[in-house]
Assembly symmetry: C2
Homo-oligomer: 127 residues x 2
Amino acid sequence: MASTHEKVGYAPEGKPPEHTPFTAASGVESVVRMLEGRWKLVILFHLFGGKLLRFSDLERAIPAISQKMLIQQLRQMESDGIVTRLVHHQVPPKVEYGLTAWGQSLCPALDALLQWAEARPADPDAP
Amino acid sequence: MASTHEKVGYAPEGKPPEHTPFTAASGVESVVRMLEGRWKLVILFHLFGGKLLRFSDLERAIPAISQKMLIQQLRQMESDGIVTRLVHHQVPPKVEYGLTAWGQSLCPALDALLQWAEARPADPDAP
DNA sequence: CCGCATCCAACGAGATACTG
DNA sequence: CAGTATCTCGTTGGATGCGG
């Protein structure tokens, strides 16, 4: 996809000019990729406490999720470098999940999103 | 938000995490609902320029999207009060899409997300 | 207790063609 | 130009059962 010059000049004064729509869109797609799925954000939110949580802890915290989805999303986020997986070779087995530093750095951004969601006006307003 | 410190039927017993994950989870799910889909964020990003864009403008800006998806996501966001739809009864027809004030207020949060994505370290570190 | 594999249902999403 | 309708397909997600 070659770069056509868009009119979508998202170029506020404070932002670098390299924030072109296509780069931005790529970034957007990266974000979408990493946060896609019905459960990623929910899992993340339970991890934002900063403590390591066991698999069963997460299962208990999110009753609506299936094991498959839980492990799947967890693994994907681990691959993305968002969550950590700590295996204790014990009997019975014990695996704890937590956030990487980068994953923790997501917290304020998500919080902004949450606040945005809560700020929804009941009045369908105009731009 | 009033003091909704009650449990919602989750975790019948004992030891919920310290920071109210349930209230938060609800908010998270709202966000997920409103921003889900492969194209919402991309469309939003093209709308953040602040100018009204025609349907065909968006089609041109996002070549990979189909008309069906474009109109669908647009309508959903309109229902959610994120985007505006301005119909000019002319020949040929002309419909312009833009952001509501609330939709525009999403910009910084998304920007934070973008910056987070760009800040991904090559080194998968531990917390 | 943790995780994987398989089967299966339900949407999401794309292509195409048609209408106002 | 803007939007709708229909069909199909791939993916996501859920249920269950087994293995370390």
